[in-house]
Symmetry: none
Subunit: 241 residues, 2 copies
């Protein structure tokens, strides 16, 4: 299951819910979704919403207005794709007050999507739907890189301790399918069905995911390149004490 496996409408719906929820602090209605995604019938939105619920990408409270919430950790798992043009996913939507508010400010709003294992990778990231604890906002000069497609994860485990990334830290990643040797990346390992935070190293057709911890308990993970999918590259680390 990958984000791109979803229908275009479902992808748009997810992106819209994320953008809307982030800027409004409450979820959108069926009609608001329909208007934005270009679905005239509320029942079609409802239909797709139910599909997304089957995939556990959202959860719904029936008969409750705006009774839905994103399962952001799961979204991160399947590789939510951000809007290319605007970089910032939050301004992906047009015609909303949100985008207007966003357009004039040179800020990066970054969702904290969930946790990532740095250590013994955990099979499935335990997830609660939309965690309101999570979004951070940085201003222009704070990030040097082309601003775009950013998301954040909370680190679990100590495998990257030598890279000064500790258990509990938040890493900000730039969403990308490829990365260079030496980059710290979030990688999905097919077969193992797990995501982990490691240094990337390529050797021929093999990909080495290198921990940064001298303890022998942490060993490199070596896999064929086609069994590893890069979710993003770490561009920033944040720690709360």
């Amino acid at each position: 299951m990958h984000f791109s496996d979803l229908s275009m409408r479902q992808q748009k719906i997810l992106r819209f819910i994320l953008a809307f929820t982030t800027s409004h602090h409450y979820p959108p209605t069926i009609r608001e979704i329909g208007d934005e995604v270009g679905i005239s019938s509320t029942s079609v939105v409802n239909y797709n919403l139910s599909k997304l619920e089957d995939f556990e990408l959202i959860s719904r409270d029936r008969e409750v207005s705006r009774g839905l919430s994103l399962n952001l950790p799961r979204l991160a798992e399947i590789g939510l794709a951000f809007d290319e043009a605007n970089g910032n996913y939050a301004s992906a939507m047009d015609g909303l007050a949100a985008s207007a508010e966003n357009a004039r400010s040179h800020r990066f709003r970054i969702p904290v999507l969930g946790k990532i294992a740095a250590g013994q990778p955990i099979p499935v990231i335990p997830s609660e739907p939309y965690d309101p604890e999570g979004w951070i906002e940085l201003t222009e000069g704070m990030l040097s890189l082309p601003t775009g497609r950013l998301f954040a994860l909370r680190v679990q485990g100590n495998s990257m301790i030598d890279a000064s990334v500790l258990n509990g830290d938040i890493v900000i990643l730039q969403q990308q399918e490829t990365a260079n040797n030496g980059d710290m990346v979030a990688a999905w390992i097919e077969g193992d069905e797990e995501t982990t935070l490691k240094y990337l190293r390529r050797e021929g057709d093999m990909v080495h995911l290198m921990p940064a911890n001298p303890n022998p308990e942490y060993q490199p993970i070596v896999r064929p390149a086609d069994k590893v999918r890069i979710n993003g590259k770490v561009v920033s680390v944040i720690r709360m004490l």
Copy 2:
């Protein structure tokens, strides 16, 4: 303006909104609030909600179901006492001035005031944020609700490398005159006329400022307590790669 200045109903309403939003991931309706707080009339809830909006403690979207959201930074400012029954954030805090002049947006704006040495002297930390070289914005849950003014500094030097604070990192500090043993603090050393970033340790009348670097080049600084002034305590570390 303090939290306890609000009417009991308004206090209850705020606590309920917080509890409800936390557990449902969307805000409550007027009637849900009324039921919980013990208000039979929806108009009374509406009335009090409008009051709270005047105080900028919440923001509302008119004619929108569940169209309200808490202004957490402002809430922290006025010292919201959380409900023990609901578990979270049970500690009573006496919030003081934070930097939340942008009340509608529910964000913490943190000025980056300058550099701090891990071994080098730097100028005083101004009590009035002026001419920051930049600023960072974090939102609501990113920081455990601050009880004081926040500011940020850019780290120079490697004396705290063992604490995973590297050269070039940005540390966010909470302004306070005192700190506990083990806290990482920015301290002004009288006589030396310099500010430095170190771990704090008290021993009798002496204050030890401990580096976190095994290299013998970095030595603890030991001074009489009255020669050391704490400028703030590190609550967060940010690193850009």
